[in-house]
Symmetry: C2
Subunit: 496 residues, 2 copies
């Protein structure tokens, strides 16, 4: 995910929940990961809380608790979802917009969706940007020579072929840069900004290069936007403005940023050589992936469900966002397998180009502009298919009141949240048009450990958590597509 409209806050997070996905060989997670290799092995019983759910408290519960229980049991009955995340991301790796890997992965998705027997499986054409990283490096040359782990920021311009060698000015904020602006001319400005919240910290990735260029800097380095680091650089997009010189920009690791700051504090001259071949080529065609379970009574009314299918060009894009897209896909498979055909159509959408353009989300809305009134609800998962808490709902008070009783249907897996919150980037254009919607609410404590890094790999997701995301999506999609009422469109409340 790329958009800064987030409320993640590392202070709340990483210490409480260190899910040992990778650490411990004999936990349930590892057992599942091992089982996942062998196919659809049943999950251990404790995934479902032993206590029975609360007695039916709403008409909606009376109508749908039995369906919800079947959906939960089916979703948690195997590790098919995790297996598909692994197969997709192992087979195609990272899937940056404009790459053959993304387009081949779309072909694979469409073929599998047809095999699954869904209706109206199609790729909907979208033109996407094509940014190419090329070769790149950053080398500390003074006070000692050391290669710096780095990743150019998406959208950055490159350097001259010989690179840029310049003294470094380390600052910790825009304010400090403003105070020390006179020192920045001809230098590489390093923003060494410790992570607080994503919203706060990502501003430096977004506009740091422009702020540095305004005071005469020749390049910008960024302490990676990361709530934890094992010398891990994080990429992500930047935005130039049209009136300021475009200077090359790259992320280095938190460790190296802190070291350069210490060197500066010791009075040592810090100098770096930055080389980047980054360039932006003309737009190329890509596709949003669409597949449907057609409604039995009101097929023209649509509940949208999905995630994005592109990723940055490092790691495998498993957490961001293959897991979210596959959780939606598997939710539809579960409904189909159970023979559940709701009143309305459930439409799976795999949005392209979320990371560096949002062309998929905008393109979907443009292509379906005339059907917007029939868009009943839009859901996306783009915070990692971690353990779900429920849904964060965006819409009018009356829409929220209508959908909130869906939450308790998921009491068995603890995913009952259904409060007002944030949406997600790709459904943003729909939400802005007044379509009510929701983002999957998950344990976000480690999201910014892996976000946009080489460590975004399938092992970071727990098969049991992915299965819980499938169940959450499945129950919400079914009820929203089947309930007699529909949540009214209206002025969006909550964050896009």
């Amino acid at each position: 995910m790329c958009t800064p409209a987030r409320g993640h806050d590392s202070r709340a997070g990483p210490h409480a929940t260190l899910a040992p996905v990778l650490l411990v060989p004999l936990t349930r997670s590892r057992t599942l990961a091992a089982a996942a290799l062998l196919g659809a092995a049943p999950l251990a019983a404790p995934l479902v809380a032993q206590a029975p759910p609360a007695p039916a408290a709403s008409p909606l519960a009376a109508r749908y608790q039995a369906d919800a229980d079947r959906i939960i049991a089916a979703a948690l009955g195997d590790s098919a979802a995790w297996n598909r995340v692994a197969e997709l991301t192992d087979t195609f790796g990272a899937r940056l917009s404009g790459t053959p890997a993304l387009e081949r992965s779309i072909d694979w998705m469409l073929a599998r969706l047809r095999e699954d027997g869904f209706a109206n499986v199609r790729g909907e054409p979208v033109m996407v940007p094509r940014w190419v990283r090329g070769e790149e490096s950053a080398t500390l040359v003074s006070p000692r020579r050391k290669p710096l782990a780095m990743l150019g920021l998406g959208g950055s311009v490159g350097t001259p072929a010989a690179g840029i060698t310049a003294p470094v000015l380390v600052v910790s904020s825009f304010d400090e840069l403003a105070r020390r602006g006179a020192e920045a001319k001809g230098k590489i400005v390093l923003f060494d900004v410790p992570f607080t919240t994503y919203d706060e910290t990502v501003r430096y990735r977004g506009v740091g290069a422009t702020a540095a260029a305004k005071v005469g800097a020749v390049a910008m380095l960024l302490r990676s936007v990361a709530s934890y680091s094992m010398n891990t650089p994080h990429t992500g997009g930047l935005r130039y403005d049209s009136t300021t010189r475009r200077i090359p920009a790259a992320a280095i690791t938190a460790e190296d940023a802190m070291m350069l700051r210490r060197m500066q504090a010791r009075g040592q001259p810090v100098q770096v050589t930055l080389r980047m071949q980054a360039r932006t080529l003309p737009d190329v065609p890509s596709r949003n992936v669409v597949a449907e379970l057609v409604g039995r009574e009101r097929p023209e009314e649509v509940v949208v469900l999905g995630g994005h299918i592109d990723s940055w060009d490092v790691g495998q894009g498993a957490m961001d966002d293959a897991g979210g897209f596959v959780a939606a896909w598997e939710a539809m498979r579960v409904l189909k397998r159970l023979g559940i055909q709701p009143r309305r159509t459930i439409r799976l959408v795999g949005w392209t180009n979320e990371e560096n353009g949002l062309r998929g989300g905008r393109g979907y809305r443009a292509a379906h502009e005339r059907e917007l009134a029939d868009h009943v609800f839009a859901m996306e998962s783009d915070n990692g298919a971690f353990r779900p808490n429920g849904m964060r709902v965006v819409g009018s008070d009356s829409a929220l009141a209508l959908v909130a009783p869906i939450g308790p249907l998921l009491a068995r897996i603890g995913a009952t949240a259904a409060a007002r919150g944030e949406g997600e980037a790709d459904i943003g254009p729909l939400l802005e048009a007044g379509v009510p919607g929701a983002g999957l609410d998950v344990d976000g404590s480690k999201y910014f450990w892996f976000h946009h890094t080489a460590a975004d790999t399938p092992d970071k997701l727990d098969p049991a958590d992915v299965a819980r995301c499938v169940a959450t999506f499945g129950v919400w999609a079914h009820v929203l597509a089947d309930m007699p009422e529909r949540p009214p469109h209206g002025a969006t409340q909550g964050t896009r």
Copy 2:
């Protein structure tokens, strides 16, 4: 540290204690790290437990509790130790045996030790191995092309210049390799062994290449010996045997090892190209670093205290083991600053070449063979200067009984442990000669996250914890050098 005689067990660890050294901007840790930049800022009061220590329970407590309290207060009064770890490791970076960086860092240590006013500051000559990594890479070429993050294993031979391209056989144990030996001929064997304990898992790094060569493999890949991974390769030494062909060996990340295993399980042909220029050159001179606080009554009797000064050639070797050496060094500085001059001599030793030869530890014993009877006690820290629990003692029952009452002197900082345990590699040759000794006992929960990786940087140590290590070393060194009795030499008990 390199030797496998360890009892670390990740199962006990990482979940309980996620010290937010890097994560959270406003914890004490970050405040200290920030303060560290500004010099010797006082630490916050809560570092010392508020409850008064237990009343004097032993003659030793009556004699030394007041000194211990002064030492603790002085050690915790600033972040000088962490600052020195950072300055040392920022200035010289990694310090592999045989490199100019190690020798320049030794010159720097000797100069600083002289400035500190210690006696008999000297480098004691030791010849050390010189293994050179050279350029290296591993590339997955089938079923898709992907560079694999990797580190050749220390001591490995290289590949031909064109590299070795071969099918990969993934196995999870020596037993599986034995069962599938017939499939290994002409292949690259990958040991995908999840971390359990260091002792168990490091066997594959040590002799995996030889086991693979015995069944006809052309190279060996290893899932990094790591209790957590963010796509992090870990280096470390291997041992060839003299009767088996030497094949190149490298560590890849846990993430990639798991992916290759999944690909194999899917029936996909897995093929890798491995290129390594690794080679071993003739031995070169290095030095153990020695400095003393001369005893006031029995200067010929020596309490040895230290850590190793070399590191692997990645990261900064801050945790392994600059922190341990500097904690010992600072403990001596604290005693000197407080005007404490014990009966016996306290000798700081910075051992060279722990990582790939142990020549420093063996050389120290050889150089001091005739003074061994006067070696009263030998202490080392080589598990990271994390929060100390106390000491793990190696020696006879009577030696243990004599030193155990030192533990409670550190009740204020919770570092009271003084039970039988393991020693450390560099003091091993002394322990084998019957000298009683101890290893600093620390929270090891994250040690194998950073061990032998690019992520071994000073930020992984908390200034408050390093200060507590200084206090622990200071109290033990003072009491052992001053107490009228001395622990008897004798048959070593506990692990070397």
